[in-house]
Amino acid sequence: MSSGSDKVVALRRLLDERFPAAHPRESRLIPTGVPAVDHLLAGGLVTGTLTEFVSVVPSGGSQLSLGALLLSTRLARQRVALIDAAGSFDLAGLDDDAVAHLVWARCETLGEAWRVADLAARDPNYAVIVIDVRGFPERELLRTKDTVWVRLQRAAEHTETAIVIQTTTPLVPNAAMRLTFDHPLDGQSLVQPRVAVLAALTPTLQRARQRQRTA
């Protein structure tokens, strides 16, 4: 008599054979441009998955990582959407050409941000979608419905898009990867070359769930 897990495996195999188109596309990696982050993510952001960047301290380097990601994708000429829930993105320190590939959605509420993100995630034209919900109280962030994450996950699976959620507290239950920026930058970093500041970033990998398919 076969066990329950055997039946699940058999069912998955059957579905694999019968509905090959229903399965997520092959994933690929999109380098972030931050050496430590790319190292932890084994090469970069994985398309078709949610990756969570948690800023535990106010100046942990997560905005700098966003800047590096923008430059990296700009060089690769990939389109990026930034869903900015608190409207806190700033161009200071970036030239206009560095964001020529960026679509910036400046929201005012968390609800707006989720609705806009849901739309963007279904558009195959974006290589990366960054959803920045920092700036909102933790209590409000934790009230986010699970359906938001499920919908984003489903949408990402069917497009070649990597979705990054920048938060201040662990928030995304179905994130494939979760990195925390818990080492604060010191005052000296304000005058150091940005490349050196980036190289000094030491985020921590909290979760790594690689998407696997049953053979």
């Binding site: 301290v57 106010p58 100046s59 942990g60 380097g61 997560s62 905005q63 700098l64 966003l66 800047g67 700009r74 060089l75 000429r77 990939q78 389109r79 608190a86 409207g87 806190s88 993105f89 700033d90 161009l91 200071a92 320190g93 970036l94 030239d95 206009d96 050409d97 560095a98 964001v99 020529a100 590939h101 960026l102 679509v103 910036w104 959605a105 400046r106 929201c107 005012e108 707006e112 609705r115 806009v116 739309l119 558009d123 195959p124 034209n125 920092r134 700036g135 604060p184 930058l185 010191d186 005052g187 000296q188 970093s189 304000l190 005058v191 150091q192 070359p193 940005r194 490349v195 500041v197």
Partner: protein, 481 residues
């Protein structure tokens, strides 16, 4: 060679196409008014009801039967769709009443014709329309074939084909039916076996015409319909519409037909004009400029749907029209390394939907505005192609990036020898452990937007902040992160 495309029970299927909720229900179309109303067409599966029954008889046989009048809007729109599809076979198409058209296939490639006919059937089937297609050496034989087709019938040998066909194909009058029944003539073959002159003597010119049609003789030249000068669809609604759903349903049908028409010769449309006629005799008019010419019905419909989803009118809608303006589709080749849009219509449709949520002013590609004002950022529409990165002219950047607080957060700052030494705010509180600058700036003193500011970069606890000293106090302007 000719083809006849026939939609059987045209009035019924045209109505069902515009009322999909009726599909599967017992439905009959009536002709005539009052007591003289008779069943003309009846949906498949209702075997107890036959055309010619009165409404009372039909209801007695099938109490659940829904008796409906033909819809002129549905028939006109479905007829136009049929014509558009027929034009994919040949430019010479003669439309006829009752969902039938004749296509002159002279010059058609015999090898590809079966596939073309299959495509026609598929296109119409996708619209919920059953199709019968007859192909023959002349239009009359093709028409006979269409009536008997299931779903295609090709007439190769006219004589053998005609012989067993029933006389009903000749559309006889009641008197003629009786006469031929008395003569024992039931098929076209039996009629043509009857001497033509004798029939002429009995029935005059009508007899000669019947014999000619029974023999499959046809000499009437085709009267092809001209191509539409304008790609337009319109409807006057039988009942005023107050909700979006029925309006969208109608517009979907319009888009499908117009997309087919404008796409006939490799064209597309880059502009749509929608007019809604309101119950209060006002009109709502809106023109839509598409990002690139397209002949995809889904794209056209999505454009309209995005707009109508947020539209509110003063009064119910009693009519509407939609016009598509054809243009030649762009034939451009992108550069080898250009990364254009994978799905341009989807991209712009998504932008439109996002703009509907957050406002068009809050969406776009950012760039520095031509101003010395702090936080002077402007947005422009995203470029369809991401250009190659230009080497930055500015020297290599320093430090982390600023996450700006909009609006700045009020703070209380304690000074020691004119320098911040202690910070109190809801964001951070504590001694300033590192300090950089200040930077003073002022400008636009000649405008109401004059500014004068003093900026300090400070470290408080584990955070790096930009402090702003303005005439109205101290603020935390952003976080270096």
């Amino acid at each position: 060679m000719f083809a006849v495309i026939l939609i059987p029970d045209f009035s019924l299927h045209a109505l069902l196409r515009f009322n999909p909720a009726l599909r599967g229900e017992p439905v009959a179309i009536l002709t005539g008014e009052g007591r003289r109303a008779r069943v003309a067409e009846v949906s498949a599966g209702v075997t107890a009801v036959a055309p010619g029954m009165t409404a009372a008889q039909a209801l007695a046989e099938c109490p659940a039967l829904q008796l409906l009048n033909p819809s002129l809007v549905a028939e006109r729109e479905t007829g136009a769709l049929l014509l558009s599809v027929a034009w994919t076979l040949s430019p010479w198409v003669e439309p006829a009443a009752s969902g039938r058209c004749t296509v002159d296939l002279t010059g058609a490639n015999a090898d590809t014709l079966p596939a073309q006919l299959r495509a026609v059937r598929t296109q119409l089937s996708l619209q919920g329309l059953p199709v019968k297609i007859g192909v023959g050496p002349n239009a009359l034989l093709a028409r006979y074939a269409a009536h008997l087709a299931a779903p295609d019938l090709w007439v190769r040998d006219a004589g053998a084909f005609l012989k067993p066909l029933p006389l009903s194909l000749l559309e006889l009058t009641a008197d003629e039916e009786r006469l031929f029944a008395d003569l024992g003539i039931r098929t076209l073959g039996e009629l043509t076996a009857f001497p033509r002159a004798a029939l002429n003597n009995r029935l005059g010119g009508r007899g000669d015409a019947l014999w000619s049609r029974a023999a499959g003789e046809w000499s009437t030249p085709l009267q092809p319909a001209p191509f539409p000068a304008r790609y337009r669809a319109e409807a006057v609604l039988e009942e005023a519409v107050e909700t979006l759903e029925p309006l969208l349903f109608l517009l979907r049908r319009f888009c499908e037909r117009l997309a087919l028409e404008v796409g006939q010769f490799g064209q597309g449309t880059a502009r749509l004009a929608l007019t809604l006629q309101l119950d209060n005799e006002k009109h709502y008019h809106r023109t839509f400029d598409l990002p690139e010419p397209t002949a995809r019905a889904d794209t056209l419909f999505a454009t309209l749907e995005n707009h109508l989803a947020t539209l509110q009118t003063d009064s119910p809608i009693v009519g509407l029209s939609l016009e598509a303006f054809p243009v030649r589709r762009l034939q451009t080749q992108e550069g080898l390394f250009d990364t254009g849009l994978k799905d341009a219509p989807m991209f712009y449709a998504t932008l439109g939907r996002m703009a509907a949520i957050i406002g068009a002013d809050n969406l776009g590609t950012p760039h520095h505005a031509d101003s010395h004002q702090p936080d002077a950022i402007a947005l422009r529409p995203p470029a369809p192609i991401v250009p190659e990165r230009r080497a930055p002219a500015a020297p290599a950047a320093h430090g982390p990036l600023l996450r700006r607080l909009r609006p700045p957060m009020p703070a209380t700052v304690e000074l020691t020898e004119t320098r911040p030494s202690f910070l109190v705010s809801s964001l951070a509180r504590g001694d300033v452990t590192a300090l950089r600058r200040p930077v003073w700036s002022n400008g636009e003193w000649w405008t109401p937007g004059a500014f004068a500011r003093e900026e300090w970069d400070v470290q408080v606890g584990s955070g790096l902040y930009r402090l702003l000293h303005a005439p109205d106090g101290w603020f935390i302007e952003g976080i270096y992160d």
